[in-house]
């Protein structure tokens, strides 16, 4: 193996163009491919920027040629050479107009045969990709994603700094809060028997920074939640976390949508028109069955409960009698594209979201309806349904009857599934909106208790403030807002309560006694006594934003070293068994008995 010994790289491989012809260059990188052809050795040399073709010719330099013959895949080399116009140009390659005739070759390191291919379209298992992540990250797509992520973080930081935001680091070792998602705990050695928690978000600290007059705070920061993992969830995730003083909801939205606009312009050259549409939560649910509607396509929900209240179809009639609802979507013009079997698949999909079934009607010529349930309706009822659904020949109508929460969820998901199957989800189209006026509380399904939908520091809407003590908690609306892109919640925030009395009433509405509230959040209630400004904030999920910008649906594609579904890193085998002595120092021991 050779050393650089003072040799300096002059260019990245992928940057060479016709303008470099006749220059002497020094490139360094990995051997992507080597071919012997017509007495020459051709090497595709790869670095972060791309590929460049190198030619070793014994007439140019015999020693380099001899060495080049021994090169293997993924060998690390430094090449000195002269850029020439390529004899047979390759228009599919950014550097396809040139090639480099090598005058010197240093083999800096060898490589065994890699266990996974270094190309984007390999088909190895995710587990293997994660085990050999350092090789997986050699793939152009992965390198592009990581560079995109770095670039977006840079755009965000520059934008926020220009707008007087100050990046402030908040602590990672904080107080456990037995609220919301499960904390990761960190035993304290010095304070025996006590634990830190890793932050689920810097929420309390950013609010305290507003109390401290820091005025505008942001941080791109890791957060942690010990929840069961799903495909798009990781134990640690990254937030763009922001908080502003002396502002109202509209101010936060205005400044943040400009940031999103800039990101899409600079990264994708996509123009986002501002202001973004604003849709109250209730409207989003009624129209899309979702608080994060994908508005790239229609098929909006329509309520037909009143029409079918007394119809002969028991499922519909009984549902409406119980105060539930019957709603449908019109998959316009696509009746022919769904066979009975395919509609069955849609029904299965609806059932995974707790619907009991999915009723359907196909509309033929003269609005003649084909449907297993058509016979249950009078002609008047059917006409009313078709009118309400705005049905025309060739339409497919799909209905769910249940309590609202199930109808919205199931029909909203069927709506998405239909669009997926019809190929309507154009990844190069970006539809964004704000969803606002979220419920302040939601009912915990297990306990029946009301919990904060956003978090307990979210301000109610002014006109709902007086309802804080009422029984009708479900009707209270919050000054909360989410930004939704193509059906993904990319960010969310709220105007905060900044008055200690209102904060106390909020804790009380959540069933916390004064003592409990003080035990958990006493420092915040204390802080609020000493002149707290009105403030509001928002947090964006950076991982999800990058996913959208990178056009991937796998969150692991935008994280350098993610965990698998078992929260394990297959590369390092973290987590691992700890040293007995260290546990002793931490005043803890394992408690595995009843689990073995």
């Amino acid at each position: 193996m050779e050393t650089l010994n003072g040799l300096k790289r002059t260019h990245y491989c992928g940057d060479l163009r016709e303008s470099n012809i006749n220059e002497e260059v020094v490139l360094m990188g990995w051997v992507q491919k080597k071919r012997n052809l017509g007495g020459l050795v051709f090497v595709d040399l790869r670095d972060r920027s791309g590929l460049c073709q190198i030619i070793f010719d014994t007439d140019v330099n015999a020693e380099a040629f001899a060495k080049a013959e021994k090169l293997g895949s993924e060998y690390v080399v430094a090449v000195k050479g002269k850029v020439a116009e390529r004899s047979s140009k390759n228009p599919n390659m950014p550097t396809g107009d040139i090639e480099v005739f090598a005058t010197e070759l240093k083999i800096l390191n060898k490589s065994e045969t890699p266990p996974i291919y270094i190309k984007d379209d390999d088909n190895v298992s995710e587990e293997l990709r994660l085990k050999y992540r350092y090789l997986d990250l050699r793939k152009p797509s992965m390198q592009k994603n990581l560079m995109l992520r770095s670039r977006v973080a840079g755009i965000v930081r520059n934008y926020l700094t220009e707008n007087n935001f100050c990046e402030i680091e908040t602590p990672f070792l904080i107080k456990p809060t037995p609220e919301g998602a499960r904390d990761y705990l960190v035993p304290s050695r010095v304070n025996e028997g006590k634990f830190y928690a890793l932050p689920q978000s810097p929420q309390l600290f950013k609010q305290l920074l507003m109390v401290s007059g820091m005025d505008r705070y942001f941080q791109i920061v890791k957060c942690f939640r010990d929840e069961d993992l799903r495909a798009d969830r990781q134990p640690e995730f990254t937030q763009i976390d922001c908080e502003m003083s002396f502002v109202e909801e509209e101010d936060v939205r205005a400044i943040m949508e400009k940031m999103i606009q800039r990101i899409f312009k600079e990264v994708l050259n996509v123009e986002v028109t501002l202001p973004l549409p604003v849709m109250p939560y209730s409207e989003a649910m009624e129209r899309y069955g979702s608080d994060k509607p994908d508005t790239r396509f229609g098929y909006e929900l329509t309520n037909i409960s009143d029409i079918v209240a007394n119809c002969g179809f028991g499922v519909f009639a009984n549902a409406t009698k119980k105060g539930m609802s019957v709603r449908g979507i019109n998959v316009e013009g696509k009746a022919e594209e769904f066979t009975k079997k395919q509609i069955g698949k849609l029904e299965d999909h609806a059932k995974t979201y707790k619907a009991k079934g999915l009723a359907w009607m196909k509309v033929g010529a003269n609005r003649e309806v084909t449907s297993p349930i058509a016979k249950f309706f009078t002609e008047e009822e059917m006409t009313a349904i078709l009118d309400r659904m705005n049905a025309k020949e060739g339409d497919l109508l799909l209905f769910v009857a249940d309590k609202d929460s199930v109808v919205f969820d199931a029909l909203g998901q069927v709506r998405l599934e239909v669009a997926r199957r019809l190929g309507l989800l154009n990844n190069n189209e970006y539809k964004m909106l704000w969803v606002t006026e979220f419920p302040l509380f939601e009912e915990d399904e297990e306990t029946g208790r009301f919990i904060a939908k956003h978090h307990p520091f979210t301000s109610p809407i002014d006109e709902d403030l007086d309802k804080l003590e009422s029984k009708d908690k479900a009707s209270l609306r919050a000054k909360a807002y989410d930004i939704v892109i193509n059906g993904y919640e990319v960010g969310g925030g709220s105007v905060r309560i900044f008055n200690s009395d209102v904060q106390k009433r909020m804790f009380s509405a959540l069933g916390l006694s004064d003592e409990e509230a003080y035990e958990k959040f006493g420092f915040l209630l204390d802080a609020f006594k000493y002149g707290t400004p009105p403030h509001a904030g928002i947090a964006f999920g950076l991982d999800r934003l990058i996913m959208i910008l990178a056009g991937t649906t796998n969150i692991k594609d935008v994280i350098a070293f993610p965990k698998n579904q078992s929260a394990v890193c297959p590369m390092t085998n973290a987590p691992a068994v700890a040293d007995e002595d260290q546990l002793k120092e931490l005043s803890i021991k394992l408690d595995l008995e009843d689990k073995e």
Copy 2:
């Protein structure tokens, strides 16, 4: 309390100047001071940017005047008014040329009397400052420090990005490594009985990113060490972490010193001349008794062992006979400034660094020496000492005799203490240098084993590579480098081993069997097989860099929410007792018995 109700701030308080006269402005902030004077109410309004004087005049607006009379300290207000030239200008205030006549006042929040004053020169205890951190952070000096920190991070990110570095987030939940400092552990819920560790640095991941071809990586990132705290240490601290491929030591130094140059220019308008001086470790120890020499002043160490080898002063003679050394510093021209008592204090200082004593000589007219030990030397010896020490009338000479490590440490510290007492440490002067060629190994004082001085991935100097298997491990030098500013180690790094064979030899030199090495770092050894580029890196301590730039010696002054010396946050009372059920979920229980 009133709400903003659409009112928008137009300016920050501290930004108003004569050019704003006659403008209508809206300011928002805190009442720093209120005075009633001549039928007017004067308020100093404060925000992050500074102060501005507001005048409430019943003739301008009676309602605002009436409200203003009720304002208290730290009330939060919004003021609309007109900027006017101030009648009695205040040259000590950036906004001293203007004042604002209020036409509208909104009281946004009240404040109780704060438990600490909102001014820089308060004298409250650190514990109280930390308990009410949200008030402590209202102080102009603290806000300035946090804004400085944000700004420096921005300069660093822009500089590194311009130089092709890509910011990549590495994981926080990693595999525990029973090496080096103590890890913070995080019990895994899903993987019963196993633990993650919080990273002490992203070392392994950044090296793997080089294996993956990411070429140039950086990250401004939190790191964690569960060590006993000292004044300048926190359980969590922030690093500017960098790694580069296809470079040698000189390349890293060149690119990084330019970054430091830019920071000092942009933040302090200080010109740093490049390249910075480079001093091998051995020279730094010989001349300054320190591997992080403060080169703002002289008083360098001088070795007189050969002169005193056979002298009549037993302490010196015996030391040299045992192979130890006798070294001194010449505090030039300052003999008169140190009384015997003060020299006694210096001796006490030397003793805290394990010296057995501090010998001294004062040089008078005609080089007549006043010293309790003068009588032990022959005239020749004394002349030789004075010549070697370059002694002149008025000089104070201080000597320590002991093994080199103690002499260097004690005399190096006495040198600093002397400079401190003489007021030579000018905070507006910045002396920087690189210290290089550190020892590769150091002996663990307890076990006598050799451990890696930097870390086990540091490359030996080429010519010392063959000594890896020798007994003389102390003589091996590393391709390691620290950047030192005014006696602080601000950053340090090394060229890494990038060859799996050399890495194995290194582990073996550290006493790790192949199995142990593989158990701990197998994934790195594996990775090295598949084409690892030459790479090198560095990490800067951001907290310490900001301390130097902010001119403070207390690390807590540059961290928003630090822990106290017991690793406790006095504001939130973290760490805290955890929920029994949660511990059960984590398969751990407390183990306090034998400690209670």
